[in-house]
């Protein structure tokens, strides 16, 4: 178990990094009294929202926990609770740093661009390392406890099940956090713009706007806390799932080797945390003052160092025999479970290619390449230097309609390259090492999460810093610097979303593999009499694909409508405040910021419940309906197809929404930089419309698709376990 200890140490280093760096960030000067005053209001609002949100989620979580306890027992329930709590902690802590770093970034930007960049990025890095570190710790400690302390076999059902419930806990929290935070941030943003900019004619972030604090709170609870919970979930699901896949597929090797192999993803996660930490110190402006360039330095350092690091840990895990078939490395006399293999499982094992250490290494390299390509493609589609954003800016000249048409065209188009990259990666890794290869590619992709989240969490800090600079009436040049930092933030925010959904596409294959293997395992306990027919010729497969494909659409519709409704209540509140207290517009009295925050909070929490339950309940409902109409076998076939339908459709919905939204936002920024007439021109007005449309696309509906896909999949896995447990009682 030395390997697991090493992973645990890396996880602890990440947490320590977070602790030390947060001390550094907090020691930075927090600006003048006015700035601190504003920052305090944002902190208070954010804390109030998150507390209320987590209370609401806790109720749902408790109900689910009781159901899990009754069907699956105590250990899986503890796994669920750990996943849920840590997902929440990652979001909560990240947000607490973010709401303190914002004002310090504004203050630092009064000094130099580098100062602002360093502070904002360091604060993002804290969130990043916490996400990766807590994720790694949760899986590693759980695995260590079950295998080393409780002495279960590494591929014991309890281990597999507990890793699944851990992932489920993380996913369940993250869908609520993503959606609730997303509704909050965009309702406040859209609402503030509608009354402020459009009706009252006051600029963005004007302190006279009662919704302005809610808007800044939203950046933190949506883009920071929600995002962190989401990426924590993605990290845990991907690494945990790779371990589960090893446990399920590698049945022909002995326990000692299996334990080592299952720990390899943890080790890869561990060393990449170290390379990510080194990377964070490389974020420095060069002579050309390019902010994106500075961030890229950190990112590429992490990626390049990851290459020898991953090779090293793979080499170490396999005792240096990188070229030999892994199956030949252990003790064949100590076969696990060999006697209980079904004919299907034997056939599957025989169909697997010969997996070597080098093969796994190459698959992980493909994972790194995919990460790089996804980052580059996202930058192309959302950066201000490239055709897509420029084409939207140009289309704004002819009006609101053409801006939106071009934005939609770009959002549709932006799905093509990521899809091709993922398709090529699937084919290549599968040719090298079968499903295991795909799983390891997903692992190395996610191993970079610390750095990728750092890039993302930097965004809301700079966004807030700009808001504070505006509200506190700081010099124009400060606002210029924070705007420059923020424009890059729009791209990095889009990057994480594309990255998360891309990993979901890779993971989909692996999740489906786990589903079929589980079906096989539970075959008798589920009372199945025949094989489950997953062939595309089975009409229930089409039914499942269609129902799965519907989920992201319905979910997107719910999310968009929720933002509209919640923004409507913001509009009414702001109008009422202006009406009842004329001193606000005159600048003589302070608006009631807290009241608006409170209204958005209630609306967001009310609106997040139903859509979040959609992916939890759908697989269960579909199974029972189809099992009633046809039979159990077709029920499981339909649910299986649904799992692929949701990713096949969700990938496109999510990428088109997040890239399209980012492109609209930066098209507005591109015009504000003085192109096509600049601020206040008709083109700018059209671009503001596009930005408003893109807001719920990129920050509410789009990013929540990723946890939605995961939940649907994990619920299906747990449904099997629960039905099997029920069947054998």
């Amino acid at each position: 178990m030395t390997i697991v200890y090493f992973a645990i140490v890396c996880g602890l280093i990440a947490v320590a990094y977070g602790f030390i760096t947060s001390q550094q960030v907090l020691r930075a000067p927090a600006g003048n009294a006015k700035m601190q005053d504003i920052a305090a209001a944002i902190q208070e609002g954010a804390k109030a929202y998150l507390t209320r949100q987590y209370t609401a989620i806790a109720v749902v979580g408790a109900v689910v926990g009781v159901v899990l306890f009754l069907t699956l027992g105590i250990i899986p329930t503890i796994g669920f609770l750990i996943g849920a709590v840590l997902s929440g902690v990652a979001g909560f802590v990240g947000m607490n740093i973010s709401v303190r770093a914002n004002v310090r970034t504004a203050e630092a930007a009064r000094g130099s661009l580098q100062g602002g960049l360093t502070l904002a990025f360091r604060s993002g890095a804290i969130t990043g390392m916490l996400v990766a570190g807590l994720g790694l710790l949760s899986i590693a400690v759980l695995f260590w406890y079950l295998v080393e302390v409780a002495q279960h076999a590494p591929n014991d059902r309890l281990v597999v099940l507990t890793l699944s419930t851990l992932a489920f806990g993380a996913s369940l929290i993250s869908i609520f956090a993503r959606l609730g935070g997303g509704i909050f941030t965009k309702a406040a943003d859209v609402g503030a713009d509608l009354v402020g900019k459009v009706e009252a004619g006051i600029p963005e972030d004007d302190p006279r706007n009662p919704a302005v604090i809610a808007d800044n709170v939203g950046d933190n609870v949506g883009d920071c806390a929600g995002m962190a919970a989401d990426l924590f979930e993605t990290y845990v699901v991907t690494l945990g799932l790779t371990m589960v896949t090893i446990a399920l597929l590698m049945r022909g090797i002995d326990a000692a080797l299996l334990t080592k192999l299952m720990a390899l993803p943890l080790l890869v996660g561990g060393v990449c945390i170290i390379t990510s930490i080194i990377g964070t110190y490389m974020v420095r402006l060069g002579a050309n003052q390019s902010i994106m360039g500075a961030l890229y330095k950190g990112f590429w350092t992490t990626v390049i160092l990851a290459v020898p690091a991953i090779y090293g840990v793979t080499h170490y895990t396999l005792g240096g025999r990188m070229q030999d078939s892994i199956a030949s490395l252990g003790e064949p006399s100590a076969l696990l479970d060999g006697s209980t293999l079904s004919a299907d499982a034997l056939a599957a094992a025989a169909a697997m290619p010969t997996v070597t250490g080098m093969g796994l290494f190459w698959c992980m390299m493909i994972g790194l390449v995919v990460t790089g390509l996804l980052v580059w493609i996202t930058e192309y589609y959302t950066g201000t230097n490239f055709r897509p954003v420029k084409s939207i800016a140009k289309a704004s000249v002819t009006g609101h309609g053409t801006n939106v048409i071009q934005g939609l065209a770009i959002s549709l188009e932006s799905t093509a390259l990521p899809t091709l990259v993922i398709v090529v990666a699937v084919i290549a890794t599968y040719q090298i090492a079968g499903i295991l290869g795909v799983a390891f590619a997903a692992t190395s992709l996610l191993a970079l999460a610390g750095m990728v989240v750092a890039l993302d969490a930097y965004g809301p800090v700079t966004d807030n810093a700009g808001g504070i600079a505006e509200m506190a009436g700081l010099e124009d040049e400060v606002r210029h610097k924070t705007d420059a930092l923020d424009a890059v933030g729009n791209t990095t925010k889009a990057v994480t979303k594309g990255y998360a959904i891309g990993s979901a596409a890779l993971a989909a294959l692996v999740l489906f593999g786990a589903y079929t293997t589980d079906l096989d395992h539970y075959h008798d306990a589920l009372g199945l009499t025949g094989p489950v027919n997953f062939s595309l010729s089975n009409p229930y497969i089409i039914v499942g694909l269609l129902l799965g494909a519907l989920l992201p659409y319905l979910f997107g519709a719910f999310g968009m409508t929720a933002v509209g409704r919640a923004a409507g209540s913001v509009v009414e509140d702001v109008r009422a405040q202006f009406r009842d207290n004329p001193g606000i517009m005159a600048g003589t009295s302070r608006p009631n910021y807290a009241r608006t925050v409170d209204i958005v909070t209630k609306a967001a929490i009310r609106e997040m419940i139903i859509p979040s339950l959609l992916p939890v309940l759908s697989p269960i409902l579909v199974y029972f309906l189809i099992a009633a109409v046809a039979d159990k076998e077709q029920g499981f076939a339909t649910v299986g197809a649904m799992l692929l339908g949701v990713i096949v459709s969700g990938l496109f919905v999510a990428i088109s929404m997040t890239s399209g939204g980012g492109a609209w936002d930066n098209a507005k920024k591109y015009i504000e930089d003085g192109n096509y007439g600049g601020k206040g021109s008709d083109a700018h007005k059209a671009a503001v419309t596009g930005d408003t449309v893109g807001d719920p696309y990129k920050d509410t509906a789009g990013p929540a698709v990723n946890p939605m896909i995961k939940i649907t999949n994990i619920v299906a896995l747990l449904l099997l376990a629960a039905l099997a447990a029920g069947g054998t009682h």
Copy 2:
């Protein structure tokens, strides 16, 4: 073959109806000189465009024809040419009536609303009956020739192949017509609005706008000719495919019964033409003056009469033995092909439920119910009386951005009910009669095409009539009447699109069945060594699903961008005309309408080529790439999955675009009716933006998805035949 003769007679009746009714329409008064002058300009432009479009398509068609001739021989090539030519003829003749009925409708509306309605609807009915009649004739005559004259067995490969190439010819023309027409109509519409309404501040359809004739031409070439070609294609593919499915699946019965059974879809198509013709005479305004109500009378008459008619022909075909298994009705001694059945085929036949005449009848009733539900759902999402349109209108009050957000939310949401209807229909029909049941449901759905197309083709006539009334300066009350007719037209236009894509979803299952059966048939000729693995566990299936799902997105992006670019050239031309000839705005000189029409024509034809080739080339490219990387079996598996991926994603893209676009359009109309401030209010401006966004959604990208899906599928089928022919040479 009596049955086929009956079908041919019904087809001839439809053509005769078209001929007689067009004489009636042309005898109606054509209005004053000014109106005739405008109508002549529209006619001229439409004819010029279609001539140029069909010339361009003919080049592509000739190339494809040569390829087909070289790979598949003469008879299938003739089938292809018949499909291509008749698809073009349906569009061409329909449009020629439409451009003559428009001015007569405007003139009739000077008299009474009923007069305008009757004329517009009769003209639509001509197109409808031509589509159904020519479609039925082409299949019936081809089938009659091959089986009766050339004495091929009804399930001979040549018969199957020629029905496929007939469908391919129709599809190939229809994707060009849909896309080219769609780009034309929306480029002209958006371009005219941008310079006219926005820059010059003149109303819609103002004769001073040089793009106004192009806009009216667009209604005809896009909504009429393109739609007719599309529905002709859908009709031929669906009926032809049902016949092919019978030929492929019903291997245990004798030739005489098989011929009868294969002719049953033709007979159903035939009797439904008769009920549709009766239905057209029931379109009458009631006491409440509801236009939608009047159209519904015609529609429901058709549907209700279809019930006994379909029962009758099924009863007749099966010699009255409705309750017996069909397999037991023939002469078992004369089994066709029984000796050559592969193990797979035998297993498939054994797995089929016992099919009875009553079973097929019930499946066809389900097809009718699906049609009714799709019509009702579309009306709900696009009609001005219901929540969705009203919610968009309400959201317009708070600005452009919220209008678009709500419109997008509705467009996402509108996919849910149609998907559920289709899913339930698939399950029910499959439980009753297997894949054959699904095919017969699709057949009865499409048998109503004559009536459904009539409802749709009525739209562009009233749209044009309104334009002519405006340009000719007719009384306001005429414009009021044409506007009322046109608002309903927006809904009926959306209906056809939802109906076409819904039938595509049902047909997808059947097409996939044909693909797998063909793979089985050509197994040796293709040089396959193992089975093709269509299980979802095969990663190449995920690859295929993802690549298929990408096609509608990429296609949509191309379509939207094309409209943007083409509209840009319209804007430049109109600006140049205003600049060079100040007399135009003063009203003293006539703009050069023909020049604008010519510019849009060139742009539309240029822009339609690449996207239309996407579905033709993709399956071929994917097959060869995957076969090179992996093996032939995986190549065919990937292409098979791609066929389902394209429908799983295309269904949602198409429905969301067409319903969303219709809803945006009618939200604008709802505000123009005096709600939320009426014409000229800020809400109206926001609604105009939504309408502009919805235009390319509903009239360019969305509707072209249906032929795109069909082409991908048929190309895959033909690829198999071509490769097999190459393999055996």
